[in-house]
Subunit: 183 residues, 2 copies
Amino acid sequence: MLTQDEIKRRQEWAYDLFTKKAALVITPQEKEKIEIADFGLSQFDQTGLGVLVYVNTERCCAKELAMWPRQTCPEHLHPTIGNIPGKEETFRCRAGKVWLYVSGDRVKNPNCRPPAGREKTYTVWHEIELNPGQQYTIHPDTPHWFQSGDEGAVISEFSTRSTDEQDRFTDADIARFTRIASA
Amino acid sequence: MLTQDEIKRRQEWAYDLFTKKAALVITPQEKEKIEIADFGLSQFDQTGLGVLVYVNTERCCAKELAMWPRQTCPEHLHPTIGNIPGKEETFRCRAGKVWLYVSGDRVKNPNCRPPAGREKTYTVWHEIELNPGQQYTIHPDTPHWFQSGDEGAVISEFSTRSTDEQDRFTDADIARFTRIASA
């Protein structure tokens, strides 16, 4: 659980990462809209993400993601439900470095370790390294997780509509929405 | 009509705009893929655009647009065809300035003039000014055109699938694809 103060502080941090590391122009209104997501685990430095949604319509979505050094976005997939295909997303690294793990051949010596204590909830180990200017597209129903390098990362995400509430996490303890401590 | 040399030179220019004005990281391979679009009018400095497509799948698309000072992307719309809705697109200004014109109330003193000689093919005059960090979403079947300010502009475009061949231009002389002079 994060307090309002902690959220504000982390929004500042994400804003600095966006504007200084990736030289993005973000408005003051957008800064206050940066979502500080801890996935309900209350270990934000290990498992979490800053998210600025530029646009999310019925048909498409664009965001910037801010990752603290060695922070992990936990394993999940975007399910096809009935005849509505799940979310498709392209990650483009803008600053820092990120390793992306998807289903496929297991890498021999992975560059990342899952957050301590939650190892069993990380099951896919095909590794893709993304440096600034590199990108990768993830199709619906594909389990994936990712972790930033030692300097954190800024990642642009281009996708179909985001419906976070439908995401399926491997870790049963995870809830997509951050709980905020009451003052 | 543009020669291969002219295209190469303009790719260099667009690359500089992307990387220096907007501080984007673009790979050398991407630089060579920058499309120099003159819309078949052979007046690139007046009517044209540099386009770098990051991704264009069946479902979504992301690009960067490079505009020379006071360059115009001519009036067009993305039609709904049968029961397939036309392209929806969000323009986000990253550097420089751009004025976007769409259908709606006519602005009294527009900041832009259409390219000389082609005034009759510009029919929508509701003006939206976009500075860095500002964005606007255009729905299918909406006529629109845009022009950059005196310093040019870098614009990110987030959209549904791009199907340029379906675009409908107001100017009957326009063809979406640049003809390249044979050597």
